[in-house]
Amino acid sequence: MSSSKRITKEYGELENDPIPGVTIKPIDQDMYNWDIEMSGPAGTPYANGTFKVRLTLPTEYPFKPPTIAFKTKIYHPNVSNDDKGNMCLGMLRTDDWKPSCKLRTVLTLAMKLLNEPDTNDAVETSIVEQMKSNHDAYVQRAKEWTKTYAV
């Protein structure tokens, strides 16, 4: 019933069959905190950037959902623009999370969000507004941030 067996298994599967663009640093001591690097997908303002991400599993995992936080600053409507850098993912909400959900799905979805931001479920509504009113300005700003913080 302890979550270590489950976490080890999930980690092993991700190591053997990695998600494209997602690199997981080896976990040694603390299996509840994963350091991850996500490559900005080509064709997006995040291209060529490497984003450090912290995946945190609660001690009650998998009964409670993990959290994803960007350690590298990123100009993205689904990532909070503060010192936390939390990414809001629908499936990570307490009400929507099920213990059968897998970290592979979580990371795949996070990668998908980098590819195409979800404007309907944004934490940074001002970025969504900019995307709608002046998309070029958004792209430029996001590229600048990528260059400044993630390259």
Partner: protein, 517 residues
């Protein structure tokens, strides 16, 4: 002019502490042939009240309070009722009723139409009769904990999604204890919306979790039914049943008193805010929050005597101030001389709009609107603060009186009038406080004057009663009759004001500067 309420509100069974006050006061005062300085509308009011058979005041609503056990019974009865019609087991019927928010007729209609769809939508799937049980399954590996011990117990609902019993248990415990879920817990499988039934919970959960589950289910019943609301007092377990709908809140302020003693609004759950309708109350609180900085300076609790400029601190609730140094008497709220306040010239509550010529230009206008707001806010905040001071003073006085009582041999009943006076004072200040939010949004017309007169009369009566509390304890015994009379009188003035405002709301006679729907 007896205030004993028997003949006035006689047969009404609903709780009303107005009645209680008046009753107990009647007893305490013995023969209450009081000498109010009546004015014409008091007499008119009492005439009307006496005329016909007992009539419920317009500001009161019908309601009942329900205990935990009564709530459970109500649910049981309804499940019993519906399960025979649907031909479904108890557990399943309960889930269906909850899914339909206890709208029995809608459930039955839909079920008769398409039972399979209803069961599916409610997360029940196909029919199910057996008792759920744990099983050992050869070659099974739990998808949650990744254990594959052949000896471990496993469980699945009818959807077939199987997990080890420990994981299932922990899943339920997390949902119930830490997320407060009950009637809408789904199968642990991502994408499966089957609802966990109470038989499953009973099979798997510990007694503690099961008890909490029952409590939470009880809660959803109250939350789902528009005619029920939990008493907002912390730790209070009663719910109130009242038929007033959310769509009626612009016409009535359904104020109820829980068995625990809390007086609150059934419409919004806020503490008693009569005579200010829910929508105005919310707007007012929002405004006060937004403008709190502007308003801060006036809520200071020390001021200067308008005559000799020495600092004066307020330590009782009464607004009648006397400067210690120069003996000048003035009103704490408007800083005007008190001599004008005891008469019908009293104008402290009314905001005098400046004539149009003065309020020209944008700056002048915004200053005028700020002044207007501060006029009402000042009085609103002051009654709030005064109520606290009144209370403090009462507690002190009561202590003194109790010690006096033991030395002078006065009986217990003889000091009860103090408590009655204090309670009446608290209640009237609460009402007065909200009259200022009400008045702030009120559009000026002929009715406004009647309202302001009522407000003034209540305020005057309240300040007079409040002042009595400032007397030294040993002199209080002498003013017992005066205090009993004044207590009855403030209650009477409060009822007049509430009756008028409630009638006006019901008839949509008040015009407000903002939408109250």
């Amino acid at each position: 002019m007896a205030m004993s309420s028997d003949e006035e509100y006689g047969s009404d069974q609903m709780m009303s502490d107005d009645e209680l006050d008046a009753d107990s006061l009647g007893e305490l005062a013995g023969n209450l042939d009081s000498d109010y300085d009546n004015d014409a509308d008091d007499d008119q009011f009492l005439e009307n009240m006496r005329d016909d058979k007992p009539q419920k005041p317009a500001y009161e609503v019908d309601y009942t309070t329900l205990s935990d056990a009564e709530l459970r019974n109500k649910q049981k009865e309804q499940v019993e009722d519906v399960r025979h019609i649907l031909g479904q087991p108890v557990e399943q019927t309960a889930i269906l009723l909850r899914y339909f928010k206890w709208q029995k007729e809608r459930l039955i209609d839909k079920y008769m139409d398409d039972p399979d769809k209803v069961l599916e939508d409610a997360g029940l799937g196909a029919e199910w009769n057996d008792d759920p049980k744990l099983e050992k399954v050869r070659g099974f590996s739990c998808d949650i904990c990744c254990d594959d011990d052949a000896e471990m117990n496993t469980y699945s609902m009818r959807c077939g999604h199987r997990y080890c019993a420990d994981c299932y248990k922990q899943y339920l415990e997390n949902k119930i204890m830490s997320e407060g879920e009950s009637g809408r817990i789904q199968c642990p499988t991502d994408g499966c919306s089957r609802i966990v039934d109470s038989k499953t919970v009973r099979l798997l959960a510990s007694p503690k979790v099961l008890a909490r589950y029952g409590e939470l289910l009880n809660r959803t019943y109250v939350d789902d039914k528009p005619n029920l609301r939990w008493c907002p007092a912390p730790e209070c377990e009663f719910a109130v049943d009242c038929a007033v709908r959310q769509t009626e809140l612009h016409k009535i302020i359904p104020t109820v008193v829980c068995n625990c003693g809390l007086r609150f609004c059934f419409g919004c759950g806020h503490n008693d805010h009569q005579p200010c309708p829910c929508a105005l109350m919310k707007k007012w609180l929002k405004k006060c929050e937004d403008d709190s900085e502007t308003a801060n300076w006036i809520s200071a609790h020390t001021k200067e005597c308008p005559k000799c400029v020495s600092t004066i601190e307020k330590n009782g609730g009464c607004n009648h101030m006397t400067c210690r140094k120069c003996k000048h008497e003035f009103c704490w709220v408007c800083m005007g001389p008190w001599s004008e306040h005891g008469t019908n010239w009293y104008n402290c509550n009314r905001f005098e709009e400046k004539s149009g010529e003065e309020a020209r230009g944008q700056q002048a206008k915004s200053r005028a609107s700020l002044e207007r707001y501060l006029h009402y806010y000042n009085r609103y905040a002051n009654h709030d603060h005064s109520a606290k001071l009144d209370k403090d003073l009462y507690v002190k006085t009561e202590k003194k009186m109790t010690s006096l009582q033991s030395s002078s041999g006065m009986s217990w009943i003889e000091v009860q009038y103090l408590e009655a006076a204090s309670t009446a004072l608290q209640q009237c200040r609460q009402t007065l406080k909200w009259t200022y939010a009400f008045a702030f949004y009120l559009q000026r017309n002929n009715d406004t004057y009647i309202f302001e007169d009522n407000q003034r009369d209540l305020e005057m009566a309240v300040e007079q009663l409040s002042e009595l509390f400032e007397k030294p304890a040993d002199q209080l015994a002498a003013s017992r009759k005066e205090m009993v009379d004044k207590t009855a009188y403030v209650g009477h003035r409060r009822r007049i004001l509430l009756e008028d405002t409630a009638n006006g709301l019901r008839d949509e006679r008040w015009q407000f500067t903002t939408d109250i729907r």
